[in-house]
Symmetry: C2
Subunit: 119 residues, 2 copies
């Protein structure tokens, strides 16, 4: 569809990342991707219109939290676990732990599909 931009590791900004994580749906997406496995866009389930979901995924991507790969007409998303660890040691773990305790982002899930995300 288009060639999206992903910031370099060194360009990932703290405040932008914090802003990206200030929305429950986006935290939910991060949780769902936290195991590092690649997920198909279409597998992601959130209680919002698809244009809104596209918006949230864009915010995460622009912030440098996720990476989007295109394959034909569909997209696959991954959390940039390695990059995040490098840029913000300890942050991801802290956020995931807190999100877990506070049940943030439970509205988001993945509809596991047979031929999706070949890990």
């Amino acid at each position: 569809m288009r060639q999206v931009h992903h910031p370099e590791v060194g360009e990932i900004s703290l405040t932008v990342v914090m802003g990206a994580l200030s929305d429950p749906i986006r935290v939910g997406l991060v949780r769902v991707l936290a195991d590092g496995r690649e997920r198909g866009w279409g597998e992601l389930r959130a209680p919002v219109a698809k244009s809104t979901l596209s918006h949230h995924l864009r915010v995460l991507r622009d912030a440098g939290l996720t990476r989007t790969r295109q394959e034909g007409t569909r997209c696959f998303v991954t959390l940039r676990v390695h990059d995040l660890r490098e840029r913000f040691p300890g942050l991801l773990r802290a956020v995931l732990t807190a999100a877990d305790e506070q049940d943030v982002g439970l509205q988001v899930s993945v509809q596991e599909s047979p031929r999706a995300a070949v890990s």
Copy 2:
């Protein structure tokens, strides 16, 4: 002036905290308070109008990041280091480290004053 509200430790919300940390000035304030010492409101220096500074300090307070104590006509602010560690283990350190590396919030400083913040 008024009786401000501070959330309990258990009420501090991840997404609200992340939102509070998504502004450079607020991150700067957190940095300046990071040593745990109490600071006088008037000591805080930031390149914004005092009403704006008041707003930022309120956001931090409402999010549960800081505590404000009043003494006569002046206020003293502290970072809730202990509470934050309890609620979000590892988060504060990660944020401070990243802020340090990225020079976030350098616009904020403290004008050390003689009789201020008796640690």
